[in-house]
Amino acid sequence: MSSIIGNRVLRREDRSFLTTGATYTADVDDPRLAGAVHATYVRSTMAHAHITVDASEALGLPGVVGVFTAADLDGPTVLPGVVPVFPEPMLNRPILATDTVRFVGECVAVVLTEVLAQGEDAAEAVFVDYDPLPVVVDPEDALTDEIVVHSAVGTNVAVDFSNLGMATGITDDAFFADCEAVVAGRVSHQRTASAPIEVRSTAAAWEGDKLVVWMSNQGPHGVKETLEALYGEQATGGIQVIVPDVGGGFGAKIAPYPEDALLPWLSATVGRPVRWFETRTENMNAMGPGRGHVHRFVIGGTRNGDLTHYRLDVLVDSGAYARIGAFLPMFTLPMTVGVYDIPNVETGARSVITNTTPTEAYRGAGRPEATLTVERAVELFAAEIGMDPIQLRRLNFFRAEDFPVTTGVGTEYDSGDYEASLDLALEATGYDELRAEQARRRAGSGPLQMGIGVATYVEVTAGPAPGGDEFGRVEITPEGRARIYSGSLSHGQSHMTTFSMIAADRLGMEVDDIDFVQGDTDLVPHGHGTFGSRSTQLGGSAIHDAAGVVVDEARRVAADLLEADVSDVVLDSEAGGFHVVGSPSVTRSWAEVAAAAGKGVLDAESQETRLCSYPFGTHVAVVEVDVETGHVRLDRMVTCDDAGRIINPVIVEGQRHGGIAQGVAQALMEEVSYDADGNPQTTNFADYGIISMAELPSFELVPLETPTPNNPLGVKGIGESGAIGSTPAVQSAVLDAIAHLGVTHLDVPLTPRKVWAAIHGA
């Protein structure tokens, strides 16, 4: 039987999604949640203020079971920080604000009601008196410390990565003294909303001394760790975290939020299960957005196109507390130079506090920012020396024959062929014909100008370096089926299908002979979850290895049954059983071997640490810009993305599509914004302008496979690539369309107003 790896296998998990809408957290019908009350949070409507809260009126309203403010909490009062490098007042988020609120949407009280709708009424009857404080919204303003958000710390700087040894530090102009040409610039990466269509949703119940929590999240084990820190002493019967079907995460559902962390206390306090399902407005105001970087770069080299020096200075908007977003330069800095062999590099990075929603990860998480900036720098340097930017890229790419390579910031890339991805993408695009068409349009007098943008990227997956691990377990059931357990967590990524294929290939079974278990800490003892494009590399490899151990064990059992030496017994994938080499007529099936082995023998775990990998590719965008209105239409998106060996092209293509759409959205329309007083301006999908299918073309995907040596499957991550290459490609395409009008740079998102204003000098 030829291997199933690489085949176009349709998803095994689809049926329940298509027929009953599956089971998301709000759909869970579990006896432990019988009689649950509903939690509704009362949120700050001001960005920075001292507060006093009066909840007395709400207590008397219909259906109200309880109203709680910070003063009432006799359990956990702060949510511990995710990355413990920040000053404590910035690190640990108050679960309910005590005397100060620091962003619009921060929780100040919670109402428990019999029915969810009663909670909305009761929350409006909780009166918060605000004594306003000065507000700082812009991270560059925050850096001046004129207004300090956490007065106990005395500065808004949450962390300087130079002090952590993660950046070289920034020197002076002398660094570029040897360069014939130098270009400097400032690049903004706006805040974007992860915007999963399922908002946050959590439920908590106590079964005696055991705490059970259901949560829409990207991995139950991290949640359990946080809950153990908060409730470990109380939960003497243990903590079980269950993640049912999840309606998207994109990075914002990695760590639990204060709203989640309070539910067990509320449940214990009122003696009933508690459920929470937020509104979209709450989600837009309180779930962490991503990006929010401002970069300053300087690039230098020779006039014939040899890039020799580069400087990247990163400023991250942490929002009101330092959460995952504040730490994401850990992914930006190692990818500073992207695909370019630039030997002399210096870096700096700081994260600052502002009166806005704390930032979290969002698809790409630090790498899109590195990529967009270096691609901008290369485009602008090419313009400075009068060279075609594609030619400048070719001159400075790391060469395929030189891998593995060490970059100017010391990152070791495992494998790659950047020029091949560029050639393939350009060929698929019909680049030369498009340039001719562009010239015709420029010569004419019509308002519809064409632009072509190219971006070549490399990113890190299963990072940060050196790598990571994930739990996998494979057991053979008495019926001779396999059950696989993963600490990784599909929330749309299709693990059931991909991991079953990996196990089926190794075990010589059909995909349908394999059952998949995830998302329950009582069933899966360890795990990390799904983020950073790590699942197949780490989780898939763990299944692959555990299955290998099970096969070896099964061969020993089969050898006894066949009265043969174990070294002569082979697994026959075709027949789905074991026989002596050269004697395929006498076979022992998996069921027979399982019966002989007895319980617990054909059962293996794996959680080996593996090196991260560096997927790469080239995206080409073709846009039409109406120079009279500034409107941009994306006509074509051609991408060549290398994710190493492909287990299932169906799933990989789907991941690429989704990433591309989100990257295009960042380039053209989506932006989480605030007014000067810190009031969010994008509080729902109508205001936010989330991308729809009407704003996108179908995508043109070009395959390329360069296996990585860093894991037994040869796979790299693919979940985020689409969002990394597409934003700079579209940005460059729009700027290319209007370059002849004297516009050299515009920050994303390239809204009609911004493009029109640049063209017309407004």
Binding site: L10, R11, D14, R15, F17, L18, T19, T20, G21, A22, T23, Y24, A26, D27, D29, A117, S194, A195, P196, I197, E198, V199, D245, V246, G247, G248, F250, F277, T279, R280, T281, H491, G492, Q493, S494, V650, I651, E653, G654, H657, G658, G659, I660, A661, Q662, N684, F685, A686, I690, S692, M693, A694, L696, S698, F699, G722
Partner: protein, 153 residues
Amino acid sequence: MQVSMTINGSDVSHEVEPRTLLVHFIREDAGLTGTNIGCDSSSCGACTIHVNGEAVKSCTMLAVQADGQDLTTIEGLADGETLHPMQQAFHECHALQCGYCTPGMVMAAVSLLDEVPDPTEAEVREGLEGNLCRCTGYHNIVAAVLQAAGGAR
């Protein structure tokens, strides 16, 4: 007040507050959780169902407005074990990932083909603009709708 309607061929009757949205009635009173809630502004379409055969975002209607009407939700679309051609096309084209938008998207797509049986790609994109998906980039959803239309042709 008391409202009664037919959902997926079954009679459903329940006491509701007048302000109850139809989507809440479907989920909580009829117990059909396939219809999802994704926004507060009728933007996302996750709650799309059929009322008397036409696609409606069930957050835009009060339960009382559906009194006496004939509703179909995602749970009522397949014919027993046999998927509706649109469900089948979504499966074959990998048009769903996290699946949260899927029930609404499928219901809207079925309704679109009722109105425009043989749409162009542009007509599909225009016709389903009111249904948001964050996972698929819409590429495979469009492909699935076109495939379902082709199958019906």
